[in-house]
């Protein structure tokens, strides 16, 4: 390292210094400061419209925990996250395995097709599905021959949004799992086959454990993303019918930009931050418990 340093002229305005200071500045302004403002603000009665900013301790947080709507939103969010991740992984892994097997041809075509919904803009796609679910003229009722009002019936509303999200995102899991499969060391399989293992056993004891890092990857990115679901709810049900499809992001937006309770909304945001952190941590823990890293 010192060789390099002596070769350079020590300038104040070296590329390195400018870049580093720029980065530090950017992150302070756009991340550190906002988080601090939000954090401090969550302990205040903060209404920007009325210009109020009075300290009220943990009152906001207590209100959050006493708010029935918060709990129902949270439970919706958690259910949504869990179910969508589950299906994303199952379908993604399943399709990836099928594609991986040597008998399939045109792999790139299939892969490209499955990934297409992932790149489509969420707002636009949410609209398409709203119309697909329309009881009179929607595609879903046409194909299934039913007359259900999917998005307005409380039993099917959240589920319908979940289906749409799974449709949109499973391709991502397919691509990742496929990549993971391709990178698995072949010698493991050779060794196992020599030992007489085949089919299901191979899958269960070698493939699955080796795919663990990839699965963890998908799970964690999904957790972070789905716990903040907002657009689909906004476009497809607006939290309805009643408040049965409220999710926490929707609640936060409502509190912040309709009722101008910035402090209260910040409190909810921080709680969600912690939830995301906790779930991520739990995922790590679960995965490292069961066998840890790939074996040689």
């Amino acid at each position: 390292m010192t060789n390099r340093d002596t070769l350079h002229k020590q300038e104040i305005f070296s590329l390195k210094n400018i870049v580093v200071s720029g980065l530090v500045l950017f992150y302070i302004i756009f991340i550190i400061i906002p988080i601090s403002i939000a954090f401090v603000g969550s302990f205040h009665q903060w209404n920007p419209l009325k210009g109020t900013y009075t300290f009220n301790g943990i009152e906001n947080y207590i209100r959050v925990f006493n708010n029935e709507l918060f709990w129902s939103s949270l439970s919706n969010t958690l259910v949504f996250t869990f179910v969508v991740i589950l299906f994303r992984i199952i379908i993604g892994l399943g399709i990836a395995l099928i594609l991986y097997s040597s008998i399939v041809r045109c792999k790139t075509f299939f892969r490209a097709a499955f990934y297409m919904p992932v790149v489509t803009p969420l707002v636009a796609v949410s609209f398409i599905w709203v119309w697909m679910y329309n009881p009179q003229m929607g595609l879903i009722n046409q194909i299934l021959g039913t007359h259900n009002n999917w998005l307005v019936n409380k039993d099917t509303a959240l589920g319908s949004i979940m289906v749409m999200t799974i449709w949109k995102d499973y391709g991502y899991a397919v691509v990742l799992f496929l990549a993971g499969l391709y990178s698995l060391p072949k010698d493991c399989y050779e060794a196992a086959k020599i030992d007489g293992a085949s089919g299901v056993k191979l899958f269960k004891y070698i493939t699955l454990p080796l795919l663990k890092p990839m699965t963890l990857f998908v799970v964690i990115t999904s957790i972070i993303s789905y716990l903040q679901t907002y657009i689909q709810i906004l476009v497809m049900t607006e939290g309805g019918p009643g408040t049965s499809t409220y999710v926490t992001s929707y609640l936060i937006f409502d509190e912040a930009f309709v009722k101008y309770n910035f402090g209260y909304a910040s409190a909810i945001s921080f709680i969600m931050f912690i939830v995301i952190g906790m779930l991520t941590f739990i995922s790590f823990k679960i995965s490292s418990e069961k066998g840890g890293q790939g074996n040689e």
């Binding site: 590329l15 870049v19 906002p34 988080i35 403002i37 008998i103 490209a112 697909m132 990549a179 921080f270």
Partner: protein, 273 residues
Amino acid sequence: MSKNIKLWIVHCILVIFVIITILPLVWMLSSSFKMNSEITSITPTFIPKTFTFKNYLNVQKNFNFLRYFANSLFITVVITGIVIYTSTISGFVFAKYEFRGKNILFSIILGTMMIPWCVTIIPRYSMVLAVDGLDTYLAVIIPAAVSGFGIFMMKQSIVTIPEEMLEAARIDGASEWFIFHKIILPLSQNAISSIAIFQFLWSWEDYLWPYLIFSSEEKQVLAVGLKNFNGRYGTDYGGLFAATTISIIPVIIVYLIFQKRFIDGIAASSVKG
């Protein structure tokens, strides 16, 4: 024989999934060419009975869609360009230099990607209000100028550039800036393409922040415009389908052209990570 049956079944499953995946998009496309009366009739059709372009013409006439499209394109391209530059130069610094606090800073940058948008969006909005930055392009572009993901990707890529090349250039008297612009940038084209496509897609579909910032129609982006269109003309289904198609098709076209490289890029970055 069982192998043939297996082949057949397996391909069937895949084809079914392809159909399920593509069907909504095809339905949207086909409906955008139907007359409103056909779309909403009690007895629906799939392929338009009477093919019409009127929906697309109306969309432009009523709602100046090209303006939204141009705005989205402008903002997306600018942000993507800036992100490419900042990511590459930051990646360069992290890959090839040492400085105090380097690891801490890098971890912070990575860690910030986990922060939910709801935590930062309220304070950022207040900050924009305070500097009277509402309804400006800058308020949308600047906060997006640095991407942790981009920095990470570029670092991974630049690390593989042999140190000897840089040393040779330095011995020849090249400045760091020269090294960056003439050596690093050209050699990182693959990683740059990956980031570019990602950032492009992400900026293109961003809704919440542009929604809060822009009030005038001339500056609004496509994602928000589409939602407004649905609000105001919520009954002109033909127009809605046309508008949605306009929002999606360009993305799909870009995707289809670059998909192999794009998908490989994601796969690579995640296999590693």
